[in-house]
């Protein structure tokens, strides 16, 4: 019962936090009538998501069929929250939650609540169904889930009360509310628990692809030739646009700019004017309240920016997960062969690349061994025919990646000569637990490959 309880709790916690934050804004502006409908809309979204999953199952479809259709909803909702935070930067809550805008605002908030947990509803239903099938105890799983949701609901109510008592309501303006909801969606407590947190990857990926496409567009527009026709130094400048760190920086700038602009607009908003008959203490109180509000609101934006920075950094670390091992020494048997021990990690099911370096005639010959999808081990130089000798890394299971021209090469083609493929080593053979390479051939092929590099 614990697993369904935890899953349902974490998924609902996103909704509970969203409700608590929204409640602070609504209560502050006297719009209490929306508190329950907002919570109900969050719950309804969860139920609709679960219903979509069950309906898909009844048509013989699985979560794998449904999830790709729900993912854009999550991603677009995240983007919409960011856009809303920016576009409402100069709009005070009083204006939004008073006639004539009040009805439209309430409808907008209810729609947001409905969509906020909808994708997670499908994912949660799938996870709970799986748990029920595995344990054969549907009742227990359902009880755990209901308790989890109830627990999250109670937590949301408690947080709303506690935050209001602590004066945190001062931090919640329409713009900061949406900034915090965006941060909440980015942090993705529920989606992470369900193993389906895709918003950071989608946002940073979209920006990275746009940069990449922009460079390509510039190549086409200005009729710039391809990298085999360019000098290394020129291509290094172009590669800067493809660096993961450049993509991460661009993501922070593009996603952070609306938040920072909203924060700046909030901090620079006009101070309230005291009435003509107000005494100095009343004026000072008004001024103090304004300063407190400014600080609290700025903290909310700062929190959203911090979450964004952390998420982009974590995503960058994950996306940049090129496996580039340090070369291990390979030894010469004194009889014309270079020996590479293939005990662990290749002894087990480890498929990762291993690099080796052989010192022969004063040259450091680097090569790697990787397992192809057909199970065969293949050895090739850490060098390609075309590019400068920056070598390869492994990208996922299925690719080696030329670190110079940033071209992924299908691992199945390693061993074939030509182009950006790593140069094969003739005569390499696996003998027992050893990879045996003819020393002369290894040195000759390395020498030949390096001779062409400028």
């Amino acid at each position: 019962m614990l697993e369904p309880f935890v899953l349902a709790f974490l998924v609902s916690l996103d909704g509970a936090l969203a409700w608590a934050l929204t409640a602070l804004l609504l209560r502050r502006h006297g719009d209490r009538r929306l508190l329950l409908p907002f919570a109900a809309a969050l719950g309804a979204g969860l139920l609709i998501g679960a219903g979509l999953f069950l309906s898909a199952r009844s048509r013989g479809l699985g979560l794998a069929d449904l999830a790709p259709r729900l993912r854009p909803l999550t991603h677009l909702l995240g983007l919409a929250l960011l856009a809303a935070s920016h576009s409402l930067r100069a709009t005070p809550g009083e204006r939004l939650l008073a006639p004539p805008r009040r009805a439209a605002t309430e409808i907008g908030l209810l729609a947001l609540a409905l969509l906020f947990l909808l994708p997670q509803g499908a994912l949660l239903a799938s996870a709970l169904r799986e748990a029920a099938v595995l344990r054969g105890a549907t009742g227990l799983v359902a009880t755990g889930a209901v308790l989890g949701i109830a627990m999250a609901g109670c937590m949301g109510a408690f947080l709303a009360w506690a935050w209001e008592r602590a004066g945190i309501a001062l931090a919640v303006t329409p713009a900061s509310l949406f900034a915090l909801l965006f941060a909440l969606a980015l942090a993705g407590i529920g989606p992470t628990a369900l193993g389906a947190h895709t918003l950071p990857a989608a946002l940073t990926g979209a920006i990275g692809r746009a940069l990449h496409d922009g460079v390509h567009l510039a190549f086409v527009t200005f009729q710039v030739p391809d990298h085999p026709f360019l000098r290394d130094s020129a291509y290094q400048v172009i590669l800067f646009a493809f660096e993961p760190s450049t993509h991460a920086l661009a993501s922070v700038l593009i996603l952070g700019a609306p938040l920072l602009l909203a924060a700046a607009a909030f901090v620079r908003r006009p101070a309230p004017q005291a009435g003509p008959g107000d005494r100095p203490p009343a004026r000072r109180l008004l001024r103090a309240r304004f300063v407190r509000e400014s600080r609290a609101g700025a903290s909310a934006f700062a929190l959203a920016v911090l979450v964004l920075l952390a998420v982009v950094r974590a995503e960058g670390a994950r996306a940049d997960a090129l496996y580039d091992p340090l070369p291990e020494p390979a030894v010469d048997d004194g009889a014309g062969s270079v020996l590479v021990p293939l005990a662990a990690p290749f002894g087990g099911n480890e498929d990762r690349m291993r690099k080796f370096v052989y010192w022969g005639d004063g040259r450091a010959v680097t090569f790697f061994v990787v397992r192809r999808s057909d199970g065969a081990l293949v050895a090739a130089l850490d060098l390609c025919e075309i590019c400068q000798p920056k070598g390869y890394a492994q990208m996922g299971r299925d690719y080696v990646f030329c670190k110079y021209c940033r071209t992924p090469i299908p691992v199945g083609t390693v061993g074939q000569p030509g182009g950006c493929n790593p140069i094969p080593i003739p005569g390499a053979a696996v003998k027992g637990s050893m990879l045996v390479l003819p020393r002369a051939a290894l040195l000759a092929v390395w020498e030949k490959g390096m001779a062409e590099k400028r």
């Binding site: 391809d226 085999p228 026709f229 020129a234």
Partner: protein
């Protein structure tokens, strides 16, 4: 209200709306990518994205035009006007370029005479001898491929890899190049089946025909702007015939060395100079069955049951020239230069105004 006053009144709104439209474009591009994965180019070229960029550019230009009439020091106004004008042109030109760009491919061979109008507005051209070199003529090129073109009136243009050469409003670059051995193929009765320079890598073929031979692997080259190295083989099928001739440029003398062009390392030598004294590998097919396989030296004739193939001593080069008519490229470049100039002037002005002992700005 005078024009000056109108511009002055509109300039602040122009600045504000330029930023708004640009922001909306970023939002639109991201939303399109997240919803459909259509990509950045589709966002720029699509109606909504292009509209937002054009509106943003126009607003920035409006603000730039109004800037000189605003108050303040002339250097500040000039810097702002240049930066805004540059930004306006940079925002305007990409969608206009994508919408109105005219890109064509012009295939030329050494010694060929192109009639006038091979591309709209292009005069009659004579193609000279190509130049290949393993070094680039200047930064950022690492290699040279030069195609000389002569016009009837004695004018000449050298089309290279970069930057584009201008001819009659077209911007020309070498997109790819290849080899063209001269062959004469006759049947058993001495009738000509096909004759001429065979531009390797350019012949159309069906899937079924492609399966007749084992092709050399294609190199992995990224970005797709031009292809390298040139293809060294092709399959010739005369129209309406069931016969096929597969020709592969096996080896040749390049810069005094005998080189194998069919090997995966062949590309290393292709830029060292023109190939001479080449050897071809031939396969002849009757329908799907191979009736002959062998080699043929330049200047020789090879006979086989059912025909003969003769190779002339010359091996010419051909090239695909990418021809682009796009007035907005210049606009884009001008925008970049203006923005840079505005930025530099603004920075210098800040340094000048804030120098020790300067009057308060």
């Amino acid at each position: 209200m005078s024009a000056r006053a109108t511009l002055l009144a509109l300039a602040p709104s122009g600045r504000r709306w330029a930023a708004r439209f640009a922001g909306l474009f970023v939002l639109w591009a991201l939303a399109l990518e997240l919803a459909t994965g259509a990509g950045f180019v589709a966002a720029v070229a699509g109606l909504a994205g292009a509209g937002l960029l054009i509106l943003s550019g126009l607003c920035a230009l409006l603000a730039a035009v109004g800037e000189p009439f605003a108050g303040g020091a002339w250097s500040g106004r000039l810097a702002r006007a240049l930066a805004l004008g540059g930004a306006g042109l940079l925002l305007l030109s990409p969608p206009l370029s994508l919408a109105f760009r005219d890109t064509r491919m012009l295939k030329v061979g050494e010694g060929q005479e192109l009639p006038a109008g091979a591309l709209p507005g292009l005069p009659a051209l004579r193609v000279g001898q190509f130049a290949l070199s393993p070094r680039g003529p200047f930064f950022p090129l690492s290699k040279t491929v030069d195609v000389p073109l002569e016009t009837d009136d004695g004018g000449s243009v050298r089309v290279g890899l970069f930057p584009p050469a201008r001819l009659s409003g077209w911007r020309l670059t070498v997109f790819q190049f290849g080899y063209a051995p001269a062959l004469e193929w006759r049947d058993g009765a001495g009738r000509e089946v096909a004759a001429g320079f065979m531009m390797l890598g350019t012949f159309p073929k069906t899937e079924e025909e492609s399966r007749l031979v084992e092709w050399l692997p294609d190199p992995n080259v990224m970005m797709g702007v031009g292809t390298f190295p040139p293809k060294v083989e092709d399959l010739l099928t005369p129209p309406g015939s069931a016969r096929h001739l597969h020709v592969r440029l096996q080896e040749a003398t390049i810069a005094g060395e005998r080189r194998s062009l069919a090997s995966p390392e062949g590309y290393k030598y292709v830029m060292e100079g023109r190939p001479t004294a080449h050897t071809l590998s031939l396969q002849v097919f009757e329908g799907t069955s191979r009736s002959f396989a062998g080699t043929l030296r330049a200047g020789d004739t090879v006979r086989f049951p059912g025909g003969e193939v003769a190779a002339a001593p010359e091996l010419l080069l051909w090239a695909d020239l990418q021809a682009v008519r796009d007035p907005f490229v210049e606009l884009f470049l001008a925008g970049g230069l203006l923005l840079l100039a505005g930025g530099l002037l603004g920075a210098l002005r800040l340094l000048w105004v804030n120098r020790p002992g300067s009057r308060p700005a």
